[in-house]
Assembly symmetry: D2
């Protein structure tokens, strides 16, 4: 009954780096990238686990330094490219690192408007949404997953839910009109480790938002699938998309005790419990995911 080491990985998580790129007269026009970067390495680390021999353990402090050093390159580029450079570095530099995964969250900023014009170096955080990239590299392969999280969306009509099975524990009333709200997390896998990341991201986001808006919904599952399908139809470079959609319940408040009708106008938004709908939409001919996820 021997006991053995199974899957393992380690790395530096959540290095928060802000990169300022300067241009224009006296370098007074700035761009900023605000990134939260996490590294996870897999490899031949059994000696460290079994005997504390760290000769193959790249310190997480070194990983952090590497992130900062690589961030100094100009241009830093899209987060998918930045993550690819970092992940390739770790598998290339250290023979005993078999797999490097670099995850990046990007926080959005917009320029502050002054007299209607964008200011060259003053910014305001532009939403609570995050753009995501997860890049996984081995010596001879690379997988790119991009995504977004915390995209909070709501439809105040155009959503129904009925026709579900009933058992002795069912008390829910069917509805032909309800609020549908969620905080979307979506992650999509690219066919190859090369694409126009910025355009692709913007278009995926746009397509998902538009589909959420216009698709009449008989179930959050239907909305989820429609959003994923629309993304794959619009973007040939993407082969799979995974969506996670908490159903943020909005209950129409019973105002009848106060002699007030409530025609789906006053809602109580609750925190917990919530439905959680998760699904994958994928091309029939998608290449195997390998280590992408």
């Amino acid at each position: 009954m021997p006991i053995v080491l199974g899957d393992n990985q380690y790395g530096k998580a959540e290095t928060h780096v802000v990169r300022v790129t300067k241009s224009g007269a006296e370098g007074r026009t700035h761009q900023i990238k605000d990134l939260n970067v996490s590294v996870a390495l897999s490899g031949d680390f059994s000696a460290s686990h079994l005997s504390g021999d760290n000769s193959k353990v790249v310190p997480t402090d070194t990983q952090k330094n590497t992130i900062f050093a690589f961030a100094s390159e100009s241009p830093l580029g899209e987060i998918e490219n930045f993550a690819l450079r970092l992940a390739r570095h770790f598998v290339g530099e250290f023979a005993f690192v078999y797999r490097a995964r670099v995850s990046v969250e990007e926080f959005p900023w917009a320029r502050i408007q002054v007299d209607g014009k964008p200011h060259p170096h003053a910014f305001v955080r532009d939403g609570s949404e995050k753009r995501l990239a997860v890049v996984t590299c081995t010596d001879d392969a690379a997988w790119v997953v991009a995504g977004l999280s915390d995209l909070v969306i709501l439809k105040s009509t155009g959503s129904e839910f009925w026709g579900y099975p009933r058992d002795r524990y069912t008390t829910l009333a069917e509805t032909r009109d309800r609020v549908l709200a969620t905080a979307l997390t979506a992650r999509w896998r690219y066919r190859a480790a090369m694409a126009d990341w910025a355009v692709s991201f913007a278009e995926v986001r746009r397509v998902m938002l538009e589909t959420f808006a216009v698709k009449h919904s008989l179930a959050l599952q239907q909305t989820l699938y429609a959003m994923g399908e629309a993304v794959l139809e619009a973007r040939p470079e993407i082969v799979e998309i995974r969506l996670s959609m908490p159903n943020k319940h909005h209950f129409a408040v019973d105002l009848s005790p106060f002699g007030i009708a409530n025609d789906n106008e006053v809602f109580h938004a609750t925190d917990r419990p919530y439905g959680l709908i998760e699904g994958t939409v994928i091309r029939d001919d998608a290449p195997e995911p390998g280590l992408a996820w």
Copy 2:
């Protein structure tokens, strides 16, 4: 050495109400208000404390119901008005309630764009910032404080910090160029309980953002004061403004061990500790704040 009851208040906190207002053909064009409402009542509640006699304790459940019922009024209006109606109700309805304070947080939403046009009933959360109103009423007076929180702003240059006193514990290097970043909370007091709340809010926000952007900063204190002063100069209806500005440190990373110069381009953004700068800017002739805060 008798022991007595001192200041006390109670109420329902954080009732999360979403109000949909319908218009247009078949009521398909919607507006939404997404509000987190808290009530705090002060009054003659000693019997409840001393003997558990609740004959003067309006249940917090009733307060919640009242919020929902009042939310059904159309139009709900600006949050300052909604809070005024609620606060006046509690002091008017219950003789033993001397003071009612209603605090509202409003979460911003924008319409989803479909083919470049705003959708009539699909929305996306528009930022992490919250709009605030705190209204306090007695039988014969009312105070209105408005505000915003979580407005995250950053200047990547145009900020210095030097000339400070030094003691044996001082190691900080002076700087003529640094990142200045904060998550602004501002609350301002109106001269009267009547104003064009929406315009006033929008203008205060605009003036604060513009001042943050254009004011060359020798200290976060100076920026804070300039922002407050600009608000009071622009908005005669406001008599006092209180700002709280955490100094979200961005440290230029020392890349010299890697042979890389860092001319304020790569920063490590840290969470804790942080500076916390708080200040009030007020008119000389401001009326007494009374129970406003």
Copy 3:
């Protein structure tokens, strides 16, 4: 209509310092103090606000260094003493600092038990509760407030709520038996800046817990007052106590649709909204609070 600077303060917030004190053979027996320390200074800071002249602005970085340096003193002692030393330092060292407030949160740790014996230098976090101290000093006075937060307590019976006023918005049913649950925050003011802080803290905590347990409750207000009164009766060194008690609602679930009786056995614990009950219990002869709060 001149505009002026009003109340203001600044300082370094949330410096997280862990102090290890070593004793015994080869210094292998350790004690730890895990503290989150915040400093707020008031003084003659108008030049910084008005013109960016920082000659009287002790950098928050210096404040942080001072916290670390003072933490090296041995013994560090109770947090009230540590805060007193720090606060006195700031008002003593800098003539233009009129008031220094030092707030400390202490996180509790217990020793890990190995074979039934406490380990000399391995520890486990002992609860989510925090011990608090807030010390305020001027050149010639000091005020000490101690406290605790996040003490989560629950009574599964021995709590009623009835006899409250009813209006058109009242739907709550009276109850002679309910769950009473809260996350207590309590802060108490000492008569003088000298006491046996550790004993006092332990006894206040014990008295509050026991009173919560044994006091039959007709209202959370009554429980709050009883807890405060019991503290003041037990501890002459304390002159005032402020309690904040969110009413964490536990609703008995209606299981009748499933043919199941629910005699207060199955509850749905909700997050929001919640009642929030806040009150002060004070001695008649308490000295003026001055700058304590």
Copy 4:
């Protein structure tokens, strides 16, 4: 290039149920179970995704009701048993549900002591740690994973880190003495869906704590493996354990600018970035995990 539905699941997340069990004279002695329960179902849900046909979608509201109804059974028992009953119900009741996963978090409570004796129905939250169970059932199989999270532990000595590879980005100094701190998450898989869950949980927790304390650490990886190995050696009913250990950095503060030596006595505890060490320890002969994870 057809597009298809891939993996998907849905369910009600985070139903917070508190169960009071009464015994003794007049039922005045109570026990409480405080549980956060999440359900995720997989099955034949394609019609809902593709056309909004919900005839096979058990409403998450029904799932919530089922949780409450099942919680009324007496005794509720250990969370592993409660989760097994729920998961088996969903796959048994609904032919189109192929897999049900029920995840439970249990919050610990202790009795309040009054005059040194445990009170029959007053409780205090006992730590921030959570006990976990994740049970997965199909029609003819069941997998039980138990665990704990948020177990915060710290060693103030007995930890080294040196001998690691160096590259151009390495600046970390080797250390023979450091603080080792983490917030442990551990999840372990049982060989069968039957065990003495309470004893097993208590022993796993004890063994992990003792191993963390006594194992001299040359790497957090070594500590992780030793903890997992000790669990498997002590508990034959467990075949695999997965541990996740963020390395919560404690940096010895450089006090030399102030003329103070710091012999690992004053530390700055930082939030981000942190190391994240994850690993699996498994028996050679462990049965295939199937759907356990």
